[in-house]
Amino acid sequence: MDLRCVLLPGNPSCQGCPHAIGLKALSVLENPIVVVPAGCTTIIAGFNPKQSIDLPVVHVPFASAPAVACGLSKAYDNVVVWMGDGATDIGFSTLSGSAIRNDNILVVVSDNEAYMNTGIQMSGTTFWKAKTTTTPAGKREEKKDLALIMLMHRIPYVATASVGYMRDFVRKVKKASKIKGFKFIHLHSPCPPGWRFDSSKTVEVARMAVKSGAWILWEYDGSFRITGMSRMFRDKSKRIPLTEYLRVQGRFKGLTEEDVRTIEERIDEVWKLLDVLENTINKA
């Protein structure tokens, strides 16, 4: 994999930043324009008059990105929205509206499972029981499954991906860029300060999420299929214990055995649902 790095050295991301890893995948796009709402990437993108993303970048209000991208797409191909999970809370109607119109854009949600830019507050995608500053006793609410919600918008392309498996992610970005209409990729992005693990371990933690079955790589392009490493982990006996993934992260400190069992049951339910989708939405 030979990627020109569109993220320039000296950018102000934290060490081990998952966005900084993920952004590299945009390098495979031809003449993209990147739309970025408020979030850590706003900072990573650098201080005027310089910028650290070596592409045209349009910074926009928190809830507006897909709609701005829709406007830009009337003049250009390859308009990409790079947004955080938080932006899909406040901007959910904007995202949904854009998908319903089948705007010709690619939306990548780099999901670090909280509002990191404002200092680790819970978001809709924050993992069950995770501690954030607004859920000091651990998140009680459900975790929303963005990619599945987007799939139900009946758009031409939806995928999940992980910064731990860049080859898989890059393949998906490339594939999406060749499809006309609304494309959505939900990228799993473990964040060292937000999840409290060592900054050298981003890729390792991302892979543990996949290997424990907690994050599942899949793709829909007319057919639905589990992809990449996740295929192997359909078989539960092949997975690493969930506690290994949870234990490396400070945000899960103090989890009881029952908590872990609850989380595991939730994960099993997701696998069951994906299994049905794979067997049902299948052209072959």
Binding site: P61, G119, T135, P136
Partner: protein, 370 residues
């Protein structure tokens, strides 16, 4: 009890002491540490309230609109883009005549993105029917928040407590935090003009006759006028109990002043230092700090129509002059300096120079301090 608190934590403690029952907010720098502190106090069982995490500011204010409508004392907090995002609800709350309190940590509006202070965001509330106060420091942030519930609930008007980003919100100072019993003595149980009740069949906000609606607006305008007296009365009572007197304005050496500077917010502290220096040189200068932007202390300003007045603004109305420059200029003749926009630092040295030029008659009608 004297302790060291940032402005944001001072607000959080005031909310706790005011026995707020529902808090809902959405993270935005530099407001976030207010609600983080509240979430922590609730999680530890130190505060008996519900904290509702929402997906946007529009929903944050909507949630507390609902809880206030049901009769519960409610609070939210935001900044800049968050305030703009909840703007529709701001008007819905005030036109519904619902008492509730919001802290606004004043922050520049983008683009370019900027998290530092200016007052443009808060000033967008001017026409909406919110009472708008501005704290100079952490102590005032705490004191005004406690008073805000009483004032808001006596008038059935929502109340915004402004505090400058970082300069107040994140700067730790010695703050006198009153005890619960004394606050309880000062702040009675919540009252409000009406609330939704399952046993009472009536509609809230349904379509009404035009003339009737205009009458409601006039009533609101009259109550805003009445608010001036209530604010001074509550501020006086607060002073009797807690030893710090409040009111629409703070007058600093204005009685014998030939020159008066009018401003609001954190930087008034630096400006007072500059006033002190000029006074030592025998220049008759004073400072009128606007603690309240709405209702506007028109009658106070009228008293000074025989003095030379300078308004120093941290917000600007494009196509006109500084926002307070317009407001004060409607009452008395004044010069207007626009400074410190977008978080640009303005220290007491700047004020010293600015006031010297003002006294020498060197300032134009509107000057950008840049």
């Amino acid at each position: 009890m004297k302790t060291i608190l940032t402005g944001n934590h001072a607000v959080a403690y005031a909310v706790k002491l005011s026995r707020v029952k529902v808090v809902s907010a959405y993270p935005i720098t530099p407001q976030t540490t207010i609600v983080e502190k509240i979430a922590e106090m609730i999680a530890k069982g130190e505060m008996d309230a519900e904290f509702v995490n929402v997906e946007s500011e529009h929903s944050a204010l909507s949630v507390v609109y609902g809880s206030a409508l049901a009769g519960l004392r409610s609070f939210t907090a935001t900044s800049s883009h968050g305030l703009l995002y909840m703007y529709e609800m701001c008007w819905w709350v005030s036109n519904s005549r619902l008492p509730l309190v919001m802290a606004v940590v004043t922050r520049t509006i983008g683009p370019p993105w900027n998290i530092h202070t200016d007052h443009t965001d808060l000033m967008t509330l001017r026409d909406s029917g919110w009472i708008i106060a501005m704290a100079e420091n952490a102590q005032e942030a705490l004191d005004l928040t406690i008073q805000s519930f009483k004032i808001s609930e006596s008038l059935n008007l929502p109340f915004a407590v402004g505090l400058d980003a970082f300069v107040v919100s994140h700067t730790a100072e010695v703050v006198d935090v009153p005890d619960q019993e004394t606050v309880d003595e000062f702040l009675p149980e919540r009252k409000q003009a009406y609330r939704v009740d399952p046993n009472d069949v009536f509609a809230v906000g349904n379509i009404a006759d035009n003339l009737e609606t205009m009458r409601m607006r006039r009533e609101m305008a009259l109550d805003m006028e009445k608010a001036k007296g209530v604010i001074d009365e509550v501020g006086r009572e607060f002073g009797e109990i807690f030893g710090r007197r409040y009111g629409l304005v703070e007058e600093y050496m204005v009685d014998d002043a030939e020159y008066i500077v009018v401003m609001t917010g954190a930087w008034s502290g630096d400006a007072k230092e500059a006033v002190d220096i000029l006074r030592k040189r025998g220049i008759q200068i004073g400072l009128l700090k606007l603690r309240y932007i709405r209702p506007f202390p028109r009658e106070v300003i009228e008293r000074f129509d025989d003095r030379k007045i300078l308004v120093v603004d941290r917000s600007f109305s494009m196509g006109h002059r500084g926002t307070l420059g317009i407001e004060v200029g409607n009452v008395v003749d004044c010069k207007n300096v626009v400074a410190g926009l977008c978080g640009v630092d303005v220290g007491f040295e700047d004020f010293k120079e600015m006031f010297e030029r003002f006294v020498r008659g060197e300032l134009g009608e509107v000057e950008w301090w840049i």
